[in-house]
Amino acid sequence: MKQIPLEVCHYDDNLRIIARFLLRCNDPKIFAIIEAIVDTGSPITIIGPRDVKRIRFSPLQRERLEGRNKPINIGGSQMFTKILNNAKLKFGELEIEMPVDVPIKGEEKAIQPRLLGVDFMLKTKAKLFFDPTNKKAHFEIEE
């Protein structure tokens, strides 16, 4: 059994579960650290507009990705995304290859959060343990 430790903290005054991981991809070349909110209400994992800018993911590079063609509603805003199919998410020694949504439109304000969704839990068969009272959380993954 592997455990991925998570942080429980007041993220903008709202108690959240936070995951931090390395995001890498060979084509397009990406290597960055991402901090995401663990969101069991989100079916997808999505990086935020400010990450797109931090990693210099150009509009041309994003246009080449596979399209979703449907808007995504997140935190009261609407975004259009494309899918980075061969993204690798690394948590300590554990590395998972899975699709990650990347915003292509609607990111002008760049304040939307990044989310680690249920797709990650399905891909890794992870169980989420969350104790908000004691501010503890982790994923448990069977080997």
């Binding site: 007041h10 005054d13 936070i18 931090r20 909110i37 400010r50 800018k53 931090r54 210099r56 760049a110």
Partner: protein, 80 residues
């Protein structure tokens, strides 16, 4: 490998510092601004993420490894 873990560890420390000191940042005039944190102190800030990234690059730092967050006004509730 060790270098990757070190980058992640430094990022975590800066994130923890940000979340613990968000009220201090608000009191110091960072509300509604993006703030970049390195080694537990703000190294760049501004209303636009693009300007913050430019400032980070001007300091010869790679924004991909730098913690950047938006300082929302106190009490804002965001339902995902």
């Amino acid at each position: 490998m060790d270098q990757e873990l070190e980058l992640l560890h430094k990022f975590e420390k800066d994130s923890e510092w940000f979340h613990k000191n968000i009220n201090k940042l608000r009191n110091e005039g960072f509300t509604n601004k993006f703030v970049a944190v390195k080694e537990s102190k703000p190294i760049a800030f501004g209303k636009s993420i693009d300007l913050v990234i430019k400032e980070i690059e001007a300091k010869n730092q790679n924004p991909s490894y730098i913690f950047i967050e938006f300082v929302h006004p106190k009490g804002k509730i965001i339902i995902l």
